[in-house]
Symmetry: C2
Subunit: 236 residues, 2 copies
DNA sequence: TGGAACCGGAGGAAAGTTCTCCACTTTTTT
DNA sequence: AAAAAAGTGGAGAACTTTCCTCCGGTTCCA
């Protein structure tokens, strides 16, 4: 009837489909390592393709990100459900926050999608709507069971995640899993009361670790280092 | 003897000196509000001057920052000394971390200088060398007095500050002092043991607060908003 | 009042971004 | 096997955003 029906999207040519997969794989990897700030040029190079190819398959960066992080969301949703399934709500919460930190540490792209609202806003908003009531139930139950501090609220979880995320980023590249030292500390702050402390399995950062963490700490690193450096040389 | 002696720097012309002051004042304000990412153009405008004037007085951005944050460092040093002076080391530590958070919230420029190593490296390194032993003593004493968890180390303080800093930034522009809710939580995680919890005086974030905090959350906000926005419009 | 000192702010230079374009290559169809 | 269709690569267009320079004109002060 309607000749312009968009219904029948003829399948991609074989090589094109293959390249599409390559792009997805490369994007997943590159985003995971470098976060969403990675360039599509970078991804294309990593996939062994030209940028043009990437842009023909995905109209823009956001579309690629969107296509990529659906499963990531599913994963998070599942983690939350698992946490709720635990009869000990506190244990569930502890596990959830730890897993979330693991996810964040393993995939900076997913972290960025979760923590920012720049990309995939709709999807995120939708997901938060689904997760929110679960979080509220989890918090409530953990409080009823007397393990979570009574003044904690579901809206505080975001801030806690952000705190943990900060330690993940801080220790990144310095010591794998260095953030693991700080998750128990934060959680000890959320418990209603306790006799001792949760044992820290992750050893402390040495002075040298600390120093290189500060060096690599990417925040506030504005202006290309090269540029600034060149200038510094001139001044001598 | 030597005609090229740099010793006698004839004083600036009156108007020039006045403008120098204006620059310093404006820079202090603008950096405090926007952090070190503020442009010298911005500062110049805020001072009612041209950029050229700023650059004649300070060879580059770093020099201006350096000239500016000496007193900030002094302030931090003093806070640390005060903390050490407190006979109750734990109380000292609590006070210190709270004050530090206040400083960070009040002056994003100083926060950036403290937490990054991009600007004023030498000065910072030097300061850290002076502060480090004080921190170690503070930690040690607080542990001896049985209030601070025994597995805490002086090198962990940086991470704790980073966590707090994350909450400061998160709540910034959403609710003044919203971060105050999280400092006691973190500190409760650092105490050796406790029967109950430290009372949170800062009320929780509402759903709307949370939403706008996410919206404003500046991290990962790459690509000019205008650009992205224009593109989004086209897609419709 | 004659310079030396100073000012403003347009715009140069560099480094990124995202995304387009089109001469070429590869696949599919006839 | 040749024509048609589909896909490719990557230089570079178009845009930001940064830091900083330059120089015609203005202001101060000896």
């Amino acid at each position: 009837m309607d000749p312009t029906t968009p219904a029948a999207p003829r399948p991609l040519r074989r090589d094109a489909e293959l390249n599409r997969q390559r792009i997805l794989v490369a994007a997943k990897q590159v985003f995971a390592e470098r976060g969403l700030e990675a360039t599509l040029d970078e991804i294309a190079k990593h996939a062994g393709l030209g940028v043009g190819t990437v842009y023909r398959r995905f109209p823009n960066k956001e579309a690629l990100i969107d296509a990529l992080f659906e499963e990531g969301f599913a994963q998070i949703l599942e983690l939350t459900e698992q946490a709720l399934a635990n009869p000990d709500a506190w244990e569930g919460l502890v596990g959830l926050l730890t897993r979330m930190a693991e996810v964040q540490a393993a995939d900076f792209g997913l972290r960025d999608v979760m923590l920012s609202e720049t990309y995939g806003r709709d999807r995120i908003a939708q997901m938060r709507d689904r997760i929110k009531p679960m979080m509220e139930r989890l918090v409530e139950r953990a409080q009823e069971q007397g393990r979570l501090r009574a003044d904690f609220r579901a809206t505080d979880i975001m801030a806690v995640q952000l705190m943990i995320s900060a330690t993940v980023e801080f220790t990144h590249g310095v010591r794998d899993g260095g953030w693991r030292r700080y998750v128990p500390m934060v959680l000890d702050g959320l418990s209603a009361r306790r006799d001792g402390v949760t044992e820290l399995t992750e050893p402390e950062l040495g002075d040298d670790d600390l120093h290189s963490a500060m060096q690599c700490w990417p925040r506030y690193r504005r202006g290309s280092a090269a540029h600034t450096e060149a200038r510094r040389q001139q001044d001598l």
